[in-house]
């Protein structure tokens, strides 16, 4: 019998637990300067693969934990209720997201931990993400129709098509990961030299992230997500000025997630109200920012140096808008799709990742040609 220990039945416990997870997440991200934009971008720029290689450690820890979590019933939903079949919207969204995150100099979590250091570029990126979320709310019904009409898979994960293929594929990837790690450790190339205060080695950050996402999955019933929290925050702000308009938008009325757990209906959306998204994603966001801020203050690094050059400010704002639009169109970001869905071999994740890589390449071209000169 599956015995579940998910805590969604108690909102306060859920919110507290996830805020704490987020706090640790924020500290670790800041200390390792673990930027998922740099992970792709720096490969295009200088062929630096340090952060990319650390993702091998992430995949290994998360896929093994998720797998056994599913078997033991610690994770009652595999695949999680936040995932759906892939569509062309997944691809289009990923492309926009990839371009946007490079221009904004951070993804949805990178922006948070970098804001905590006091960099105004990332504060501008943050405002861009809020603005992009509001913009999306205006066109939501259109995008939703597009997404529904262009599905490219019937299933959510490879396992739903064929469980054997999924198991074999996972085993093959895990074996490849182990071989790669053995090679790197023999070469002595796992340990990298950084002079940053309180630095944590990328591979260690990756393993810690795997554990954190696993705990989050146990608590929330789905792996980490965060972009809907931006939309919710933006909705609260817009409501102050245009309450009637917000009330009339379908996106802020609907639930983006709803599922049944032990006879209780759990649901949440981007609208300005307390619900499952507040207890999970918004709590995670608050946790990450405060954890990173605590780290920045601890190492005495918090400082606002200057108003950024105009080109960079424009790029950050545009990038924020693009990445928010992309995340909404694909109904998720790198946190959900890279960290949560790749170890589960979710179709959306596979397609989103490919599109983000292409987008990041385009973003890097724009950045080096027009923004930083």
């Amino acid at each position: 019998m599956k015995k579940s220990r998910m805590l969604t039945t108690d909102p306060l416990l859920l919110a507290t637990g996830i805020t704490l997870l987020g706090f640790v997440f924020g500290i670790v991200l800041y200390r390792g300067d673990y930027c998922m934009v740099a992970m792709l971008r720096d490969f295009f720029l200088i062929r630096d693969t340090t952060l990319l290689r650390s993702f091998v450690f992430y995949f290994l820890s998360a896929s093994v934990l998720f797998y056994f979590g599913g078997l033991t019933g610690l994770l009652p939903f595999v695949p999680p209720p936040t995932f759906a079949p892939a569509s062309l919207a997944t691809m289009a969204g990923g492309l926009l997201f990839g371009i946007g995150m490079v221009l904004a100099g951070g993804c949805v979590v990178g922006t948070l931990y970098k804001m905590a250091g006091g960099n105004l570029v990332n504060w501008i990126g943050f405002i861009g993400i809020l603005a992009g979320s509001l913009l999306y709310a205006e066109v939501h019904p259109l995008i939703q129709r597009f997404s529904a009409q262009t599905t490219v898979t019937h299933t959510i994960t490879v396992a739903q098509d064929n469980p054997l293929v999924q198991s074999l594929l996972l085993l093959a990837i895990i074996a490849a990961c182990l071989l790669a790690i053995r090679r790197w450790s023999r070469q002595g190339s796992l340990h990298v030299i950084s002079h940053a205060r309180g630095y944590i080695q990328p591979w260690k950050v990756a393993v810690i992230l795997g554990l954190l996402n696993f705990f989050y999955y146990i608590l929330a019933g789905a792996p980490m997500g965060i972009t809907t929290a931006y939309a919710k925050l933006a909705a609260y702000l817009e409501q102050i000025f245009l309450p009637g308009h917000v009330a009339g938008l379908a996106y802020f009325q609907e639930n983006s997630i709803s599922f049944q757990f032990e006879k209780i209906l759990v649901s949440g959306g981007a609208g300005p109200r307390m619900d499952y998204i507040s207890h999970t994603e918004l709590s995670l966001m608050a946790g990450i920012f405060s954890g990173a801020l605590a780290a920045a203050l601890h190492y005495k690094e918090f400082k606002i140096y200057r108003v950024p050059p105009r080109r960079q400010a424009v790029a950050a704002l545009t990038g924020g808008i693009l990445l928010a639009m992309g995340a909404r169109i694909a109904s998720g970001c790198n946190v959900k799709f890279f960290l949560g869905g790749l170890p589960l071999l979710a179709w959306q994740s596979i397609i989103f990742t490919a599109a983000v890589i292409a987008g990041a390449w385009i973003g890097t071209q724009i950045l080096t040609r027009y923004v930083i000169r």
């Binding site: 930027c35 971008r41 340090t50 100099g105 951070g106 006091g118 950084s194 940053a196 950045l367 930083i372």
Partner: protein, 82 residues
């Protein structure tokens, strides 16, 4: 040699990866002079990860690199030190 040309690059508070890109460009521009010990690049940055990527790139090009923790930021010096 006291007449070493010092080029100061203040990249505090700019978008990531401005620091990396600007420094790479300067390293290329002054390639020969840095090698001869005639020019030193002194970079101020708050991008924590560049204390890894810049020294790595600079060492690959055969330059001396030194990183100092100053107050709230980092100072990276590229080029011969005496």
């Amino acid at each position: 040699m006291s007449d070493v040309q010092k080029i100061e690059l203040d990249i505090l508070g700019q978008v990531c990866p401005a620091c990396l890109l600007v420094v790479l460009r300067e390293m290329n521009t002054h390639r020969q002079r840095i090698k001869n010990g005639e020019t030193q690049l002194i970079i101020k940055t708050d991008h924590r990860d560049t204390t890894r990527t810049i020294p790595e790139s600079a060492r690959k090009m055969g330059y001396d690199v030194k990183v100092r923790n100053l107050e709230t930021y980092y100072e990276i010096t590229i080029g011969k030190n005496e």
